[in-house]
Symmetry: C2
């Protein structure tokens, strides 16, 4: 069974010590605070974050746009953009008067081609970001504990391997003038009432189970996908109702080993492209240079 505790900013959660034998009373009526997704009645003067959730229907992928609109440049970033919706995303960035500085991925996706390469070709100056552990190419390779600043706001990188070897979760900062509740962009590590498969790309149900990070219950969960039409959850909600991660590790591993999922139809196209995420052009030129 799983118990989640508050963890300090910039710590990487890989220790099995975060799990305990105390059962979760899954049907217990949860405390209000853990399940509230609130909009503030009186936003404080520190409001800075512009946030948009965007959906790509074919692969059921969520792309997230975040910007610090209190900064003169309105610096912005996109998390998990999809190649097919790059035009939509860039139009929105332009209309909102934002300056896109980062195009980042939570991991090497197997179900769609990332939009980072296309974005870089269309918006000079944008830098691609992915984890060092993904062994992919990008302008910036991040590790657990790193902070990614856009204006006065930042995302903290947490290691959450298991779906793939290099999966990370980006979490909004903890501190004054950072959004509250905090927002966790979990990629495929933690889905709403689910989690990513663990049978490809260095996946490991043991690693995934261990890597579930600890954040306050009210933290908002924004996954890379949803197939049932949910848009957001909270840590508290998943602690109570995630049908996989509320189980003990052995049961969880059994569940993951018996999903009987089909071979991902896009994997052979998507993974090679995404391994050079944001650097397709550069890579192509290198190949060209070598062959010449």
């Amino acid at each position: 069974m799983l118990r989640l505790n508050l963890l300090r900013v910039s710590a990487v959660v890989r220790s099995p010590s975060h799990f305990s034998a105390h059962p979760i009373q899954a049907k217990q009526r949860p405390a209000m605070g853990s399940l509230s997704y609130t909009t503030s009645s009186k936003p404080s003067s520190g409001d800075k974050l512009l946030f948009r959730q965007l959906f790509e229907k074919e692969s059921s992928t969520y792309t997230y746009l975040l910007a610090d609109v209190s900064h003169p440049d309105k610096p912005a970033l996109l998390i998990d953009p999809v190649d097919k919706t790059v035009e939509r995303d860039l139009s929105l960035v332009k209309e909102l008067g934002l300056k896109l500085i980062y195009a980042m991925n939570t991991h090497v996706h197997a179900d769609h081609v990332t939009g980072t390469g296309l974005i870089k070709s269309k918006v000079p100056g944008v830098q691609s970001i992915i984890s060092k552990a993904s062994k992919s190419k990008a302008d910036l390779l991040v590790e657990a504990g790193d902070k990614i600043y856009f204006g006065d706001l930042f995302l903290e990188v947490r290691g959450t391997p298991g779906h793939t070897l290099g999966c990370v979760t980006y979490v909004t900062g903890d501190g004054p003038n950072q959004p509250q509740p905090r927002m966790a962009f979990t990629g495929d590590a933690l889905l709403i009432r689910g989690c990513g498969r663990t049978d490809f790309q260095g996946g490991s149900s043991h690693e995934l189970y261990k890597s579930i990070f600890t954040l306050p219950k009210e933290t908002l969960i924004y996954p890379a996908h949803d197939y049932k039409g949910f848009t957001v959850s909270t840590v508290g909600e998943e602690m109570l109702y995630n049908p996989r991660l509320t189980k003990d590790e052995e049961t969880f591993k059994n569940i993951m080993e018996n999903l009987n999922l089909p071979y991902p139809k896009m994997i052979d196209v998507a993974v090679p492209a995404n391994m050079v995420c944001g650097l397709q052009d550069f890579s192509a030129k290198q190949v060209e240079a070598v062959s010449n």
Copy 2:
């Protein structure tokens, strides 16, 4: 051309006087305030609203769950539920510990069957709501200016006909302890960068153009549908970038008359069912009683 102004709560906007000849400079860089979708840095103690946006993929419909989680009963309502996703919605309501009191529609939908009837059959005590102008059956028939309370929060009803005769927009309250920015659930009257068709169900491009309501620029727009993966917009954004409603009325009418849209494939099933929204069972029993 269209100019939107602040209007007092509970007024119904049907007067052409809200439109002026001043052109919108559509490509002007907008003021920050009009385009910010912020999460508060420091939520005030008045946080009450639990809010969830839910998506039904087949008809690209958004259902909205709102609840006052500071109230002991946690009273909740669903806007535009879809029959096919009622189980999902009710599971979520249960998991969040909410008490569903209203299942409401913005209008008589032509592309899907409302979930209100099914919800009423599964959760005793829930009341269905639709506009009186829709000429449909429901437990509560509302008119522009009405306020629908759930706990200490409320939605205000605004008349926004044109897509159908009975379309209304539900807007979160204006006052202390109500969510800020305000949230407008526009149904099909105003879509993100678009609007509903006007060629069925008493639709009228003239009425739709006239009925566009006036709210502060930062008001969040939550439509009944989106087909491109957008989840939210603002009044300010639509004032600048809506490709239809930024035009003068003549151009708008021309656009609407030349959409060349196919006959809605679900209309013959959906409209009769939705005209008795929330009362299908009651209606069926009546028929049964008469035939006996």
